[in-house]
């Protein structure tokens, strides 16, 4: 049993101790650096946070290849890739501001929690000054918020949901990849030209955030040109057999099926739809058609024969013939033996854009980098003239409408470019309803 000693001396003693204890946190507030992870000792560390396991592991592996290539080029190795075609010539292959570029890698597992844990360890343990990567919007949004709080720059990888630069945008986060709205705006005219303006569409949508924004974007842009939306059905993300969702499509009187699916979902639903013979049907006197808003090469490979003639949109494709794309495909191909995917492209470009912004700003300080990237116009990185808009940190550039190739020459040659939708057609106001409800806040230097 304890014995209470309420003497004058006892009270004074405990009072002093408690006071000292409470004061301790206020003593230790000195900070050594002006901003989080200020590079010291001639090297700078970048954090590449990509899915190495889970459903998007293939894309993650390709992203990592692109990052390694970018680091090589930034440090002056290899043939320089897109550094030679980039409109800004601040970078000269001597690292960033004279610091040799080093990198750490992590596994997002395509889970927000795991991705944040991995990003946190990069920031807290490895001293990463910039985090980049990811192959899903959920992860991108989660890591972007973390980087904002920690005071480092986030250059997102493959993320297509409107929310990344819409309601969840952050001042320290930047997206080069295109988004759902742009897919809709780019696809609509091509669909109208090929399928007419009097169609009835049936949507199957993956039941999560990206699915919703994509469905919303496609519905609004197709309805604007006269299509009618018969029905929209949500499918669970874990679904592998879509036959029970495909069967009602025929009874609904629809003549176009829109698959707002990505990755394995899209491979399975498209295969099911084709096996059901949807594409051979005539409905309302018209040929039945299928549309896939977001295409990737890895998906096209998974779906095989079934993608032939199906329209979709993509951020970049290796068969582009501008100087930047050619230089990138050449150095990637020489190093790894096959052409890069769109995920690899956007990650490579993001790394270069960050390095260039630091070089131009003359400092690694996040706020200076943000200022250098905002309203930055550039060219020579594969997408034609591009603008990093200051209002939402989204890149505006041409969008590619592609379709599954009828006679592929190789396992990488699965998509052909139908049209390059010019940037004016996919540009929207920063306060567009599909992007409303968020605010960038102010840039954070951490400390």
């Amino acid at each position: 049993m304890s014995k209470s000693n309420l003497t004058r001396r006892g009270v004074l003693k405990t009072g002093t101790l408690a006071g000292a204890g409470l004061a301790v946190p206020t003593i230790f507030t000195s900070r050594a650096h002006a901003f989080t992870n200020e590079p010291t000792g001639g090297t700078v560390t970048l954090g590449f946070n990509v899915p190495q396991t889970g459903p998007y592991a293939d894309e993650g592996a390709d992203e990592l290849r692109a990052y390694e290539l970018a680091v090589e080029h930034l440090n002056g190795g290899g043939d320089g890739g897109m550094l030679n075609t980039f409109s800004s010539d601040a970078l000269e292959g001597a690292g960033i501001l004279g610091n040799k570029v080093e990198y750490v890698t992590g596994d997002t597992q395509t889970k927000s929690d795991a991705a944040r844990a991995s990003a946190k360890s990069m920031i807290e343990k490895d001293g990463a000054i910039m985090i980049t990567g990811g192959s899903s919007s959920g992860v991108a949004v989660a890591v972007q918020a973390l980087c904002q709080e920690a005071g480092v720059i986030f250059m997102s990888g493959l993320t297509h949901s409107n929310d990344t630069t819409g309601k969840d945008k952050r001042a320290n986060g930047f997206r080069h990849f295109f988004n759902s709205y742009m897919s809709g705006a780019a696809l609509a005219p091509v669909l109208e030209a090929n399928y007419g303006s009097d169609r009835k569409a049936y949507h199957l949508t993956a039941d999560y955030n990206w699915g919703y924004t994509t469905e919303e974007a496609i519905v609004s842009s197709t309805e604007a040109m006269g299509w009618e939306t018969v029905n929209t059905v949500k499918t669970p993300l874990t679904q592998t057999d879509f036959s029970s969702y495909i069967a009602p499509v025929l009874q609904s009187g629809a003549d176009v099926l829109v698959l707002n699916h990505y990755g394995g979902n899209m491979v399975n639903s498209l295969t099911n739809a084709v096996q059901f013979g949807l594409r051979d049907k005539m409905v309302n006197g018209k040929q039945f058609e299928i549309v896939v808003p977001l295409y990737s090469r890895l998906m096209a490979r998974g779906a095989g024969e079934n993608v032939k003639g199906i329209f979709g949109s993509t951020n970049w494709h290796w068969s582009l013939t501008d100087a930047g794309s050619k230089a990138f495909v050449k150095s990637f191909g020489e190093k790894y033996g096959f052409p890069p995917s769109q995920a690899a492209h956007t990650c490579y470009v993001q790394t270069l854009l960050y390095a260039d912004a630091v070089q131009r700003a003359g400092s690694f300080e996040p706020c200076a980098v943000v200022e250098a990237l905002e309203d930055f116009e550039f060219d020579g990185l594969g997408n034609g003239p591009t603008l990093y808009r200051a209002e939402d940190h989204q890149c505006f550039k041409d969008v590619l409408v592609v379709k599954g190739k009828e006679n592929p020459q190789s396992e990488f040659d699965l998509l052909e470019i139908v049209e390059k939708t010019p940037v004016e057609q996919v540009t929207y106001a920063p306060d567009h309803p599909q992007f409303s409800g968020g605010s960038l806040g102010t840039c954070n230097n951490g400390g």
């Binding site: 992590g106 927000s112 929690d113 959920g138 949901s161 409800g437 605010s439």
Partner: protein, 402 residues
């Protein structure tokens, strides 16, 4: 002391000292050395150690003490996180109300799920809890997107009301969870020679909560209520035949352990204000089972050790990539270097699950009592060697007497 026996006081004391010194213990290597890769003393991971420690301690009350294998405990963790983040959004960035609400919400959920699931035991109970957890996951992932944020997870926004301290968020950056002004992400760095130690406010706060949770667990273990739970574990039928109704006891154990999970979830949100649905996925529920078995089912300290080991593997081993391996073995001739790297490579980086699986198999086969049994065996070995010597001395004496 504190109503504990001598042995338990010692155990609590050891855990307390380890918790306080953890930033030193887990950072044994200088910053620029090659071994710095294995340092685990950075705030995020230390926080994870203690938070998952709490989760596993609570789980052990149900699984280790009462003998009910729940396969859906991550649901309570997730519910706790969501409750905490909502509290941050609506009320205040202070962590106390957030954590209180998360414990309460998880407790309510546990009453509901436990009341239904506990009508069965054994494998049926496991399946029922798994089903409930998957339902909660599916709800959080899609149906309840307005409440849970869906796939993206629930996050703070600048426009949140935050009734009590809304003014704090006016300057354009999101406010940070704190304890009466002490921000959870505040940290102090101490450089000693080449070593760099980081002490974070969030870690010490979670550590304190973990110690309280640990103390409470000891008290439950040693209480008549704990004895009752043990009786249920060893033979529930016999308990029934003696005229005791076991259900209220099992339900109480279930709810307590659910509240522990909620506490862990709330702390996770307090350290990092985001709640994602993956936290409730069945693999997360399986992970806490692994932690408990790996550390030692039914022991006090075991689950904490198991949680630490798994989180260490997940965060440290998974980050070793082939470049780092090549760096380690650079002193070897080229062919040999590539050979060694290609042998080790499948076990590190993304292959960390493989390594964890091997360790788990070895532990289950050779140390059925988990890491705690390993420690006990070593201790026994040392003691026996000592007592052997004593006995030898004794025998020599008797021989001499003959």
């Amino acid at each position: 002391m504190l109503g504990l026996g001598k042995k338990d006081t010692l155990l609590l004391g050891i855990v307390a000292v380890l918790t306080i010194l953890a930033p030193f213990i887990f950072n044994p290597f200088p910053v620029n050395s090659a071994m710095a890769q294995f340092n685990a003393g950075y705030p995020d991971l230390l926080q994870r150690f203690v938070i998952f420690g709490i989760f596993a301690i609570g789980y052990n009350l149900l699984f280790g003490l009462t003998g009910y294998l729940s396969f859906g405990h991550a649901a309570f963790l997730g519910v706790g996180s969501y409750a905490a983040v909502w509290m941050f959004k609506l009320l205040s960035m202070n962590v106390i109300p957030a954590i209180a609400l998360s414990v309460l919400t998880a407790g309510l959920f546990a009453v509901l799920i436990g009341y239904i699931s506990l009508r069965r035991s054994g494998i049926y109970f496991a399946i029922l809890t798994l089903a409930f957890a998957q339902m909660t996951y599916a709800l959080a992932y899609s149906v309840l997107t307005p409440i849970t944020g869906g796939e993206t997870g629930l996050q703070l926004a600048l426009s949140d009301p935050r009734i009590l301290d809304g003014a704090a968020s006016a300057e354009g950056n999101l406010p940070v969870p704190g304890l009466f002004g002490l921000e959870m992400r505040d940290s102090v760095q101490l450089a000693v020679g080449d070593w760099l130690f980081t002490f974070s406010a969030g870690y010490y706060f979670s550590g304190l909560v973990m110690l309280l949770a640990f103390y409470l667990a000891i008290r439950i273990f040693r209480s008549p209520f704990g004895m009752m739970l043990r009786a249920i574990k060893s033979n529930q039928q016999r308990v029934n035949y003696t005229g005791l109704n076991a259900r209220p006891y099992t339900l109480a154990a279930f709810v307590i352990s659910g509240m522990y999970a909620g506490l862990a979830g709330g702390l996770m949100a307090a350290m990092d204000p985001l709640a994602g649905a993956e936290r409730m996925y069945w693999t997360a529920s399986g992970e806490v089972v692994l932690m408990t078995i790996l550390g030692g089912v039914g022991t006090l300290i075991g689950p904490v050790l198991g949680a630490g080991l798994i989180k260490y593997m997940e965060n440290i081993v998974s980050k070793i990539n082939s470049d780092i391996l090549h760096g380690w073995f650079a002193f070897m001739p080229d062919g040999l270097e590539d050979f060694i790297v290609s042998i080790i490579y499948p076990f590190i980086g993304k292959g960390w699950h493989l390594t964890l699986g091997i360790i788990f198999m070895l532990v289950v086969i050779f140390l059925p009592g988990g890491l705690v049994e390993g420690g006990q065996r070593i201790a026994r070995l040392l003691r026996r060697r000592k007592s052997d010597k004593d006995e030898d001395a004794g025998q020599a004496k008797t021989e001499a007497a003959e």
